[in-house]
Amino acid sequence: MNDPTQRPTNGTDQSPPETSDRFEVAFRAWAANAPATPAHQAGRRIAERLPMRTRFPQIRRLAVAAALVAAIGTALVLRWTGLPGGDAAHPSSDSTSVFPTTGTAAAPDGDVLVIDLDPQTPLYLNLSGPGR
């Protein structure tokens, strides 16, 4: 910190000298007064007031909270719309859902995977790729 009673040599611009000088002299004298609280006391007092610093910065806490809200929201939406993941009606009942929530899967010859979307709807997946 500069000594407030000393006139700095830069940062001044053109203005009537008498006014600036008078004010600046008074300003420096006024600013030179020490704070009411001594520095060592202020340091101790502020250290006592410092909050715990968490491991996660606020932005990460916000991100985690947003992810949690999104997950809960998704679960609720799935539950209400009857999509898999909720306790909605099973696709093999009257639902029009085609998701194989409880269908079985089997690979009879090792290259073809059969997924029973429901008892009347098998889905064959050829695992060997095209050409066979």
Binding site: P8, N10, G11, S15, T19, F23, F27, P35, L50
Partner: protein, 194 residues
Amino acid sequence: MHGTERARPDHAYLVQQAALGDRSAFARLVETEWNRLVRLARSVVGEADAEDAVQDALIRAWKKLPGLDRPDAFPTWVARIVARGCFRHNRRRPALAALADAPEPRIVSGVEAGLDVERLLSLLAPRQRAVMHLTVIEGLSDREIGALLGITAGSVRAHRRRARETLERALGEAERGATRATAADHDIREEVTP
């Protein structure tokens, strides 16, 4: 940086320790910066609220400290937080601005060159007060002041010019008032004297 970024051998170490959560290191940093920061705050928010404003700003600085990339920039960085805190403080509770309704600046006797400095500062906008403080008290360049306050060097010059125009007007009025009072006093004395 002149005035604010002083090279102190243990400063960077203290900043690093404080960033890791060492409260005593932060307390020592506060000790080194306290007087300078309170003086800055005093110019912007006035004597009564300066220390509270600095304490609040320092607690904010503690929370943000792990994000400070350059430990040697701590003095400027923390002064910026204090200055912004003081501007916010003024918006919430315009303590100095309220003084603008008080009588015009008076010329007083005393060590402050016969001027009521706090009253004169109250006539300036908060940013103008900060610019005047950083110019007159800390002796920073326009570029350094701009970096600290987040404005351009041209804005710094404009703030300072307007501040000086305001001070010039106020001091002129105060002097005319003092002259009129002296003349009236002289007239009364002449009338009383046989």
